[in-house]
Symmetry: C2
Subunit: 303 residues, 2 copies
């Protein structure tokens, strides 16, 4: 009986689930909209329904377990989300145990960026690498640290909050209480805020700013210069701390690589003796929004 696991990626917009075998082959996939507005119980029901649907389609196979990647700080042993502004009903609710009870299967809860890092390690740009860091550049900046082939969790599961590295001590205010967090200066949201400050246009997305930069708009290019500089500063600190061989970047900002990577690399070269003396790659991740699915599916095979 062929073994498989089910990975779930619960995002603010989409809820994805996939059945994956031990070799990392995606056997089947479901994607629906996340209905956060309908409340926690509806979302949990949607997750359970998606998993059951996959389980029926995989009849004859043996389900090893379910991994679920969710946004926010995770208490890994308790299987709970804490301090999540995006998913208010989930805060401090035993979401892992509730889903496990409804399914009658073991469930592992994981932070979405940690899951994405694990996915890239398993089937993406980090194949064959045991130590890597992934930064997801989106609304915020998520981080996942893979050390010795496994997610680094820290004592309760909050390790890897790399978007909250302080890069400018008196920089922009962050929801976490800090000033100058990496994610306030290098995320898609940060790009949009800068575009707003520079009056580049009404409600521009990071993608719009990228297109303006491509068209030769100096201010749009300056925005990526600033964002790349901030990102490079954060990466240099990470390289000095970890001396890992691989740092991956993912997220919607990635197409603008041509604009933000040069100032990013300039900072890294300048600020990291380790980068200049130990082989270190900084590269785009390759699995896109399926990284989290692969990673979530990988977890039951590891445990």
């Amino acid at each position: 009986m062929a073994e498989y696991s089910i990975g779930v990626d619960l995002g603010g917009t989409n809820l994805r689930a996939a059945a994956v075998n031990r070799d990392g082959k995606m056997l089947d996939k479901i994607a629906i909209s996340t209905n956060l507005g309908a409340g926690r119980d509806t979302v949990i029901n949607d997750i359970v329904t998606a998993i059951r649907k996959l389980r029926r389609k995989m009849a004859g196979g043996s389900l090893v377990g379910v991994g679920i990647g969710v946004p926010g700080f995770i208490l890994i042993e308790k299987g709970m989300i804490v301090g999540s502004h995006n998913m208010p009903g989930f805060d401090n609710f035993p979401v892992r145990d509730e889903i496990s009870r409804l399914l009658g299967s073991p469930v592992i809860l994981e932070n979405d960026a940690n899951a994405a890092a694990m996915g890239e390690k398993w089937m993406g740009a980090g194949r064959g690498v045991d130590d890597l860091i992934l930064l997801t550049l989106g609304t915020g900046i998520g981080g996942g640290i893979i050390s010795g082939g496994k997610v680094l969790h820290g004592s309760v599961g909050m390790a890897g909050e790399l978007g909250h590295i302080t890069i400018i001590p008196s920089g922009n205010v962050c929801g976490c209480g800090n000033h100058g967090c990496l994610e306030k200066h290098a995320s898609a949201t940060a790009i949009e805020s800068m575009a707003n400050l520079l009056a580049l246009g009404e409600n521009l997305s990071a993608r719009d700013v990228y297109e303006l930069a491509q068209g030769g708009n100096d201010n749009a290019r300056r925005i990526f210069q600033s964002m790349g500089t901030a990102l490079g500063l954060g990466l240099a600190t990470l390289i000095n701390i970890f001396n890992f061989p691989l740092y991956l970047l993912s997220g919607g900002v990635l197409p603008a690589w041509e604009f933000f990577a040069p100032p990013m690399m300039e900072q890294v070269r300048k600020r990291s003796f380790t980068f200049r003396n130990a082989e270190t790659r900084i590269e785009p991740a390759i699995l896109g929004n399926e990284a989290g699915l692969y990673g979530a599916a990988c977890l039951p095979f590891q445990s």
Copy 2:
């Protein structure tokens, strides 16, 4: 036949060696001056002589191996020191293999701060804790990361260069090529530079500045305020990255805890959501300058 290992701590001033058994009991100890001025071969000869002396005194015991903690960036697989300004003759020299050849025993080379972190984990303030970080506040700031009970090395052994976390992007110039490294704002040397800038006195040591602060000198207290703020900023970033349960501080600046710890803790509380939500201790290390000896001696038992 009782097993023991020999740990060596090679500092710029002192060369210490000790025989330690598997329970962490220090059986014998030698301390001499480090004679860097006499050149590399003399220093290596002094190390080998000290180890042989201990080996003779331990006749009847079984030597498991030798661990040596040295300052500077380490290439762990090659057993070499690189980029060390303090030990010029050692740069890129196969020091581990040379000592091993002279002794006829296996030798492990380790960065001194990594060894000290391991020592505190084994027999000091980190007993019973598998994940901790040590910052040594001295001439520079060294760092050691213990993850899952072992030193985190990264790909070549340069992990843990925590003195080179950028805390002020346009801060003081550092020998590593960066600006605003933690060690340029929170080491003993940084305290001495600030005392010099504020014209507190001629060639004051960090200890002198501490005594002035104790005597009520406002500028001396401001210096520790600044140093504690910088340290807190670095610690907050580390806590956000690692979510480890324990962060230890050691070094000659430690007695000034009463002056630098309050601003340090203020920064940590403000800048780390993780600190506010996961039990996290920041404490003085307890083994003083014997931490490196214990840690170096621990390594052969681990390998």
